[in-house]
Amino acid sequence: MLKKILGIFFAVLFVVFLVIYVYRAVVLSGIPIEDADLGNIVEEAPPPARPGTQSLILTGPLIKPLVFALNMRTPGMRSLDWSALNDVDFTADVRVTAKVGEDGALKFNPLDDVYCPGHAKAGEMIGNVMRSWTYSPYKTGTIVFRYNVGAVGKKLTIDVSKLRRREGVDPDTPLKDGLLYFIDGGLKGGEVKIKTW
């Protein structure tokens, strides 16, 4: 029985190969002999690019844009717990005017720069967290945060219009803004406004 099956199997295989071979012969007979030789086609692949003689344009590597954002690797950086802030003071309206230093650290005076009339507790909470924030060292200048917990719509406004490219950062490399705040729990992306002008 097994012999028979094997016999049939090989017979079928043989017939298939025979058919393929005959088909190939028919196809090849239809084209000129030079084209039938695959080696020729491979050999004569066109050289796609040709060098120019007049001058030289040397292309450098693609430079990825620099991203000005919070440096998440900063040790001891804490996030602001939005729901906790909500619990502390759900009408809090706090404005923090801070400076981004040469090293990217966020600097402000907790007494003068945190403006929070009537919401001292929330102001303290925000100030404590924000003191631990550090940015990538590409921009310096004044950055203003306004936390309006009770607002409908934009609850956080960040004004970056006073930030300037730090001296020493390559002027030709594009510089983009990345994540500028580190807030957990409850604040949606749509509730944040970044003011650039």
Binding site: E44, A45, P46
Partner: protein, 200 residues
């Protein structure tokens, strides 16, 4: 005990016979050495046609396109110089539709129609005008002109000119041929160098 009688003629089996034939074949293959390794080889493991270059080519190879050969001159007094051969894949321009000719025939035709000239070994010191006045340069100039204008009508990747040159030929010569080709814009997009490579 029963002994079977062995018939020697009957016992030479086909597989054993094939076995022996293949063994012989392998023996001859391995004992045949097509190249003798040279002492003090170049570190880049590459060899271009050298003084003996012309002797090693396949003379029966049909030429596909114009072949410019720059080989050392054979005569004794000018051993330092090269001779340039312009080989055409047909007998002459008037007879260009007749079909390909072999390397050997092309060489004969080139001799017959004087498509060969002597080229000094050192052309670096020549100024541009003197360089262009060299007979070999003029020969290549005229022949490339005739060949390209008569054979290449439209730009095509297979339009090319073959070069087989001694490895010490100065780049100025090659540069001249390349410039000549590029003066036809896209008509001759590439050249082919015939080389011999050593494989590590």
């Amino acid at each position: 005990m029963v002994f079977r009688k062995i018939d020697p003629a009957k016992d030479i089996e086909l597989p054993t016979f094939i076995d022996v034939v293949f063994l012989l074949l392998i023996f001859f293959l391995v004992s045949y050495s097509p190249i003798t390794p040279k002492k003090g080889q170049e570190e880049l493991e590459l060899s271009l046609p050298t003084a003996q270059g012309a002797g090693e080519v396949n003379v029966n190879e049909p030429l596909e396109t114009m072949l410019i050969e720059i080989v050392p001159l054979k005569s004794e007094e000018n051993k330092e110089d090269y001779e340039v051969w312009v080989l055409l894949p047909f007998e002459s321009y008037s007879n260009s539709q007749k079909g390909r000719v072999t390397y050997r025939d092309a060489k004969t035709f080139s001799m017959q129609f004087q498509r060969t000239a002597v080229l000094p070994k050192d052309v670096a010191a020549l100024n541009e005008a003197d360089f262009l006045r060299l007979p070999a340069i003029q020969l290549m100039n005229d022949q490339i002109d005739s060949y390209v204008t008569s054979q290449f009508r439209i730009p095509h990747p297979t339009n090319r000119i073959d070069i087989r040159a001694d490895q010490d030929v100065q780049f100025r010569i090659i540069d001249f041929i390349m410039d000549k080709c590029s003066s036809y814009e896209d008509l001759v997009p590439s050249m082919v160098f015939r080389t011999r490579f050593k494989v590590e």
